[in-house]
Symmetry: C2
Subunit: 369 residues, 2 copies
Amino acid sequence: MKKFNIAKSRRLRSTPYSSRIEDQGVTSYTIYNHMLLPASFGSLEDSYHHLKEHVQVWDVAAERQVEISGKDSSKLVQLMTCRDLSKSKIGRCYYCPIIDENGGMINDPVVLKIKEDKWWISIADSDVILFAKGLAIGKGFNVKITEPDVNIMAVQGPKSFGLMEKIFGKKIAEMKFFGFDYFEFGGDKHLIARSGWSKQGGYEIYVENTKSGLQLYDKLFEDGKEFNVKPGCPNLIERIESGLLSYGNDMDNSDNPYECGLDKYVNIDSNVDFLGKEELIKYNKNGIKKKLMGVKIDIDNISISETIKIFDSNNKAIGELRSGVYSPHFKKVIGIAMLKDLNWDKSSKFKININGKSANGTVCDLPFI
Amino acid sequence: MKKFNIAKSRRLRSTPYSSRIEDQGVTSYTIYNHMLLPASFGSLEDSYHHLKEHVQVWDVAAERQVEISGKDSSKLVQLMTCRDLSKSKIGRCYYCPIIDENGGMINDPVVLKIKEDKWWISIADSDVILFAKGLAIGKGFNVKITEPDVNIMAVQGPKSFGLMEKIFGKKIAEMKFFGFDYFEFGGDKHLIARSGWSKQGGYEIYVENTKSGLQLYDKLFEDGKEFNVKPGCPNLIERIESGLLSYGNDMDNSDNPYECGLDKYVNIDSNVDFLGKEELIKYNKNGIKKKLMGVKIDIDNISISETIKIFDSNNKAIGELRSGVYSPHFKKVIGIAMLKDLNWDKSSKFKININGKSANGTVCDLPFI
């Protein structure tokens, strides 16, 4: 696979941590919400093993916040998601598919209820702020919509709990999954959630004060020595094994939440109003015609920059591979595919052409592990 | 300046031309509308000189189209831009600032009137489709909004006219600037506009049929030999010298069209309704407090990944540099800066700190050439 440089410019925004991670050895970037998001520090596989055993600090400032506040803020947030937020609580995070009037996915953020009339939508890679602004203007809602200067760093891995307790004390170790609270460091209060884009456990620190945030970044590496801390980033191997979906990779606006396996976040039986509700009721009644599934392929490497068609034994196209990576655990390539045939026999094989060579694969459920 | 690889994935979409330009020697990419946009083929300076003398073919598929059709399409397109489109004609392109309810820039596309009730908004780097969808839903407009599978290739440079006439005949040479029409190639009709993101002249081919589009791509290189054709891309040196603004680099949602020097596209005296009109009337009456200007800096190289502050002789911050590049023409760095002091004396010097070293600069008008 050929390698290409990224041409930096202000439009691909740096983060407050960029100069630090460049000193620490970041080797590749992706772009996410018009911002630099580290994609590797040397070997993906070394980083994967380290993440599963120790603790990493990640620059995930590219997870931008859309702040919605004001009298109609709850109404607007609810309008955008099929998840019923009527019983949501301050201090909790909610994974929420954002959908359009046809039920097509627009984003899959984590929504934080900050106050009764203030929300942060912690977004995947699409300009949700423009959708929110358009809706608010069109509906005449009384809301204020901004992108605050919040730059998340994540602390991920099994030893993240020990490291964070060392810095913030026992209270942070007792916080429940998808809870958030405020913790003092460097004279500032930082919102910290027990969350993150891995299944290895950890925290996300929503840094509003950059100065003390950078001090905290350095402190995590100082105090983290005994925990074997390293810089890291969302790891392609770990996230696919864990079945963490990536908007824009595994799903896009042409897919609805049922097709993405997000059924439990679709509350069509609730009383709340949201876009696409009628369409989703129809999909629920009539059934869907494609679905995201896991696949295993008998090859030892892959690099995906566009979808790759999947064929059955009669050479009929039955779907497309959207993400994939070599898994050291399964000792083959694993991936996430949108399959058209829902009656696919999980024990039978499919064919796929990778770099001009035919390979065999099998379908399986998500997550892999 | 350290170099970093781009981590490819489906989310950073390839274009139909990607495999061709990778064979032809593209060396760096930027990301634009979630898609790969080539940023260099080897030396920027060599490519700059070539573009000014010969002809280049560019993969600019990342200039995505937002198609708005239906009964209320004209109303929606007009609502989003401060440019009066009431007298717009089919077959013409219009440069249109898209602004929000505060007059803040959201994008600066070229709008093509395809039919009375069908428009293409050829966008810069932000998800205008989400803004349009939000507005249409909120207002209850009768429109259809899609991103059609259109992948633009540009033919740019002084010899583009000769090359295109060789392939398409005299009619294409007679087309006026910002006009468009349909031209036959490979059995398909292709929309071709006399436009492009350089000041060297040329065309943009809006390829809807990928198969004949790729044949046309190859034909341009075959027939282009006598014109010294080369693969290329929007050139940072040429675009800054020409004063072509880049959304996300030179301007963003915190700037209004007056501050960006786009006064002639702000039709506050027209009868048409658009978002932010009242705010723009106020700005026009009360004046603006910052403005995009050209700057020249006495150094011989620069690489910008975030804004750099500009100081006056009393060390007072008077603005920020947003784009910059070494210009072989001026034999110094030139750039585009947002300056807070509009009474800045154009003959006086400012100070700027680049890579830890202080440098001197002067302010000037845009474009440079």
